[in-house]
């Protein structure tokens, strides 16, 4: 067995070390050097464009499916609602929070929030149907401070005693009025797929004697572009009104 000899500090050295420890303790108490945020008592300040939980306003939705087309994670499912319109629902188990859907929404029906701390019990619950997207999810807020990181060579925490609003105001998108029109009527199949695809009943097909008349009501057309996509011969285009 080898016995390790511990060098015992002498009196002066001992006092010096103890004083050092005390000083560090006092320093931490007066001006803490940690960069940890004491969540949930404190909450980090986030910019308004933070990509968190997504809210939905059905009144602004034109059922254009853009959000579900653009979603790279295939997390958006368009579901038929009671008024026969299709509205998005998001599967948060798949969502990668890229907010392409929010950016692509032509009517700002989808908008971002700073909420990122929603808890789910299981995977099924992570599927968020349309009706749950209208109001922000229920979260218990214990925070009183908002903390912001200031980067100036050193990282400094700036604590403000106020609550940050998690649902920022969104400037509404300036909607450019567009409507669908046919630029090659000679190639129309008169199949009526545009008529049945239109969510706003803006296109009509009427049978005349040996002819079929197709008509687009520019006032009713919301410019969603569904008919343009659906037309099997691709002869419809959106024009600026």
């Amino acid at each position: 067995m080898i016995k390790i000899k511990v060098r015992k500090p002498d009196m002066v050295e001992n006092i010096k070390l103890h004083l050092d420890a005390l000083l560090t303790g006092v320093k931490e108490a007066v001006k803490p050097g940690t960069i940890t945020i004491e969540y949930p008592r404190e909450r980090r300040w986030l910019p308004d464009s933070f990509r968190g939980y997504i809210l939905f306003t059905p009144e602004n939705c034109i059922s254009c499916f853009q959000c579900s087309f653009v979603c790279p994670a295939n997390a958006i499912l368009m579901k038929k609602s009671e008024n026969n319109r299709y509205y998005p629902s998001i599967d948060y188990a798949k969502c990668i929070f890229c907010h392409f859907c929010v950016d692509s929404c032509p009517g700002s029906a989808l908008r971002q929030t700073k909420i990122h701390d929603v808890v789910y019990i299981d995977l099924d619950e992570m599927f968020c149907p349309t009706e749950n997207m209208i109001n922000p999810p229920e979260i218990v807020r214990e925070d009183e401070y908002t903390v912001e990181y200031l980067m100036d060579l050193d990282i400094i925490l700036k604590r403000v005693k106020e609550r940050d609003d998690l649902i920022p105001e969104v400037k509404p998108v300036e909607i450019i009025k567009e409507y669908s029109s046919c630029y090659e009527p000679d190639s129309c199949l008169a199949c009526g797929i545009c008529v049945s695809s239109c969510p706003n009943e803006a296109i009509s097909i009427t049978s005349l004697d040996g002819e079929k008349r197709l008509k687009i009501d520019a006032d009713r057309c919301t410019g969603c572009g569904i008919c343009v996509k659906e037309c099997p011969v691709q002869i419809l285009k959106l024009v600026k009104g």
Binding site: P185, S187, G192, E211
Partner: protein, 349 residues
Amino acid sequence: MIESTLEWDVRIPEKKIEEKYWLNLKKRVIESGLCSHCSTCSLICPVDGIISEDREIDFPDWEERCVDCSVCVRVCPRWDYNPLSDIGDYIELVAGKSRRFRGQDGAMVTEFMASALEMGLIDRTLFVGRDEEWRTEVYHIRSVEQLFDIKLTGTKYSFANVLPEIKRAMRTSEKGIGIVGTPCMVSGIRKLQKEFSIFRKKIRLVCGLFCTENFYHHQLYAFLKEKGVDFSKLIKTDITRGKFIATMTDSEISFPVKELNSIVPHGCEVCIDFTAVESDFSVGSVGSDPGYSTVVVRTEVAKDVLEYIKQNGHVDFGKVIIEVVEKLSNLKKKRTKNIPEEYRKHMKE
């Protein structure tokens, strides 16, 4: 700015029976044995319901999915069947043999399409290739290099799904598309172009093939198998001088083409167009020496391509004996007797 409209009319043909248009087509064309399997209806069907496979043209779930739009009837070349025959009008008649490509005879179809690609007249063309069992499959050709594949050239004598593929080619083609097809397919394309302007703009060059008949793959396969043809070794099928010749790597099997009569589809029995009269140019082996192809140039577009070929010296020219083409054309014309009375009256007018 493209001119566009918010209101337009579309002419709709009259129904023969008070049912959906698909049923009209099925009763009048398919079930009466007039259908030539050109698959124009399958190309245009807006709900992609009409299927053209190695059997009769069909729309299995038409009751639910058919939107009764009438386009299948509008494009069908046999709805109001008014067949053309003989050689028709032409600008120039040449026999040629490509110096670059290997094909059925003189590889003139390949040469014309390759030249059209080089000229920039078209940027897509559809060729029919084959798998190990000589099932046909359509290839989208975008460069001349692709055409050196021997599997793409040469005659297969089976229906190919060329026309439905046009839809896919149209989506990406900017300059235009070149199509190679049998006379019925050419008629289908012309009717399509007559009805719908987008096809007038996109389909720029139509090559017709001299054709006596075409077969369903499964029937021809079974027939040739019985004759002892080994499809893994088969390199060429040909019909010359009344004989069907299957050339394999080590042997050759031939028999009189008349033996195939039992499997000739009904649609071919009522066809009297041998040279694809409505095409831009037609090509076939008949009327020229072995190793050469006869080319009937009918329109200015095809004439331009021929001029380009002449300038570049890609082709050796030979002699055409027009009488032989006329003879076979007349032979096919005899099938007029198979055409139902209703349409024959129409023709005499």
